[in-house]
């Protein structure tokens, strides 16, 4: 188990990267806690797999270093780093039995027989595979195979980190949730540092203590699931997390008011966006509601209402801008004159896609595009 430090890390697949676009992974500097469960979340091509391969040692970064517990492992091979990895497609040794598969990494490291026996039995029990210990691994289902892949990492008590590369891709939907639960349970029990790559928000948010959201080669936010939902640092996070995603409305900020097409929307504090920048108001569909009869809101036109059972999603337009509004079950909508009200506490101001208070605070990091 160890703490992982990414020190000025960047990677390009080109030999002589010139522009920022040449970098599959733009410069990053992070410290990940020992025993933490991290998820790297983002759409395909965002650089999450590149980052995982750098951590596992399959790829040497073009810039910067990677440290495990302060030790520079940048040039070390995967086996020297003492990590375990679970791949997208289950990797098992076909000709071995389930138990032999789990013994393999220990036998290779010269652990003595009785110790191997003990650990393998315990792991078979943990993974609920005891009944199949003597079976050839070849005939198992995909989720069982994936459990074996994981088990081969877990039997080595001393691994620095366990890495997962979209491990549920080939798993049946109804088994996904069980395997996810198992992973979570194993993390709580063994407290290994775990890093989990996925493009699925449910997998990421359920599994991780900290979710690292990546977009176009950059980390746009590292946060707890709560933070990503409540305070997205970047419009992409707002869009990517949550269904439907966050509403983004072009606006002008006037003190503690956001003005969208002439309509004033009160905010919880005063913002001062820089001149000339692209300024937008971001608010989740959950934090907008239709106004009560006597209330003053912003007028919208309703395009359609989808009833998804537990609530309805109203697709509306605010002066031409499309928005989603969640309508709770049982709430009646008047047939005419629709107005909406924004929850001032949950509105964010985004400048060139970055949340205003976040963009200019903290590490003094500036984003200019």
């Amino acid at each position: 188990m160890s703490q992982i430090k990414l020190d000025q890390l960047a990677h390009s697949y080109y030999p002589d990267p010139a522009t920022a676009e040449d970098f599959a992974l733009k410069k990053m500097d992070y410290l990940w806690d020992d025993g933490g469960a991290y998820a790297l979340l983002g759409p395909s091509g965002c650089g999450k797999t590149t980052l995982l391969n750098i951590i596992s040692g399959l790829l040497v970064p073009s810039r910067g270093r990677i440290l495990f517990d302060g030790e520079d492992v940048t040039a070390k091979s995967p086996e020297e780093r003492n990590i375990a990895q679970v791949f997208q497609f289950p990797v098992i040794y076909d000709t071995m039995t389930v138990a032999q598969n789990l013994e393999f990494p220990l036998a290779n490291r010269g652990v003595d027989r009785s110790e191997i026996r003990k650990r393998v039995d315990e792991m078979l029990d943990t993974l609920e595979l005891s009944a199949k210990a003597g079976r050839r691994a070849q005939g198992l289902t995909a989720d069982e195979k994936q459990k074996i892949s994981l088990g081969r990492g877990l039997v080595r008590y001393d691994v620095n980190a366990i890495l997962f590369d979209e491990p549920l891709t080939v798993i049946d939907p109804h088994m996904k949730w069980q395997l996810r639960t198992k992973l979570k349970e194993l993390h709580q029990r063994f407290s290994h540092t775990m890093i989990y790559v996925t493009h699925d928000q449910t997998e990421a948010l359920t599994f991780a203590d900290k979710v690292v959201v990546m977009y176009e080669g950059e980390v746009v936010q590292i946060g707890t699931p709560e933070e990503l939902f409540e305070r997205p640092d970047h419009t992409f996070v707002g869009y990517f997390i949550g269904s439907p995603g966050m509403n983004i409305l072009p606006c002008v900020v006037n003190g503690n008011n956001a003005v969208v097409a002439g309509h004033s929307i009160p905010l919880d504090t005063v913002y001062q966006p820089p001149r000339g920048a692209r300024v937008e108001l971001g608010v989740r569909p959950e934090f907008v509601r239709f106004a009560h009869a006597a209330e003053n809101g912003v007028p919208v036109s309703i395009e359609s209402i989808d009833n998804v059972g537990r609530h309805r999603i109203a697709k509306v337009r605010l002066a031409g801008n499309p928005m989603n509004v969640i309508v709770p079950e049982g709430e009646m909508l008047s047939s005419t004159d629709h107005q909406i009200v924004f929850d001032a506490q949950r509105c964010g101001i985004y400048v060139n896609d970055h949340r205003l208070d976040a963009a200019f605070a903290g590490q003094g990091k500036r984003y200019d595009y």
Partner: protein
């Protein structure tokens, strides 16, 4: 849920193949069967002889000798070509520009007509002027394949290995190429040695193609004719007279059509039997 459609029309599509197989395999085979149970003294005059030729062939020391040599030859070349082919395939680069170069080099011996292979080695191994023959003698080995059975065997085996190992290499390489990178990465992470990687990943994944390689090489070597015929003509003495050479001698040299036909049928049945035994043995446990 997918359900297979039951449709009898599909059989019509197989019909052309059946016709071709009938024309080029079944009909000639039946002709041979016909010969093997008859005797003839002049064209067009046949007598039914029953199993006489079969009894004669099976009790003849000459046939036993040829059969023994045949099995020995096949066993030797399989024991060399399969492991060697796998080793070469393992040593070949998996990626990059050298892949195609290697593949072309490997395919070269396979592209040479068989009688040319025989002729090449015939000259190559000549003790007075051939590079190999002269070289060995110069190094102090007493080597002369036209006179010493051991030299002749060595040359025939060497020639077959040179000619056919490539086939095993190409098949094994195809098997290796189908293994996803993740397997190698996982093995590294599990701390597997190079041998363990071979034993638990590469060999199981190559199993199917190796079975095919083994069968092909068995059948081909069991029926080997052209190259040893051109190289040694079955000599010196009868030392490299394999089954097929013996068969041709009987049929064309001595015009013993009945004997030759009976040999052919026995030969065919043996090949079939051995292939079947091989295949079932190696496929056992594959799907259990």
């Amino acid at each position: 849920m997918t359900t297979k459609t039951v449709n009898q029309k599909a059989w019509f599509l197989v019909l052309p193949v059946l016709l071709i197989v009938a024309l080029n395999a079944i009909i000639p085979l039946m002709t041979v069967v016909n010969y093997s149970v008859q005797d003839t003294f002049s064209p067009g005059v046949f007598f039914f002889e029953g199993t006489k030729w079969y009894k004669e062939v099976l009790s003849s020391p000459r046939f036993h000798g040829a059969l023994g040599r045949q099995f020995l030859f096949t066993a030797i070349i399989l024991a060399i070509e399969i492991p060697l082919g796998v080793l070469v395939a393992l040593a070949m680069p998996r990626k990059g520009p050298w892949v195609s170069v290697c593949l072309v080099l490997m395919a070269l011996p396979l592209l040479i007509p068989w009688n040319v292979v025989g002729a090449m080695w015939n000259i190559f191994a000549l003790p007075d002027i051939g590079l190999l023959g002269y070289g060995l003698n110069w190094l102090g080995f007493d080597y002369n394949y036209t006179q010493q059975p051991v030299s002749a065997w060595m040359t025939v085996v060497l020639m077959d290995v040179w000619h056919w190992t490539s086939l095993v290499v190409l098949l094994a390489y195809a098997g290796l190429s189908s293994i996803p990178d993740a397997y190698y990465q996982a093995a590294k992470i599990d701390g597997a040695s190079a041998f363990a990687v071979f034993r638990y990943i590469q060999l199981p994944k190559m199993k199917r193609v190796l079975i095919i390689a083994l069968l092909l090489r068995f059948m081909d070597s069991f029926m080997v004719y052209t190259e040893p015929f051109v190289l040694t003509g079955g000599g010196p003495g009868n030392s490299t007279t394999f089954l097929s050479i013996d068969l041709v001698k009987a049929a064309i040299g001595e015009f013993n059509l009945g004997i030759a036909a009976a040999m052919s049928i026995l030969y065919f049945l043996m090949t079939l039997l051995v292939c079947w035994v091989f295949y079932t043995a190696m496929m056992r446990g594959e799907d259990s």
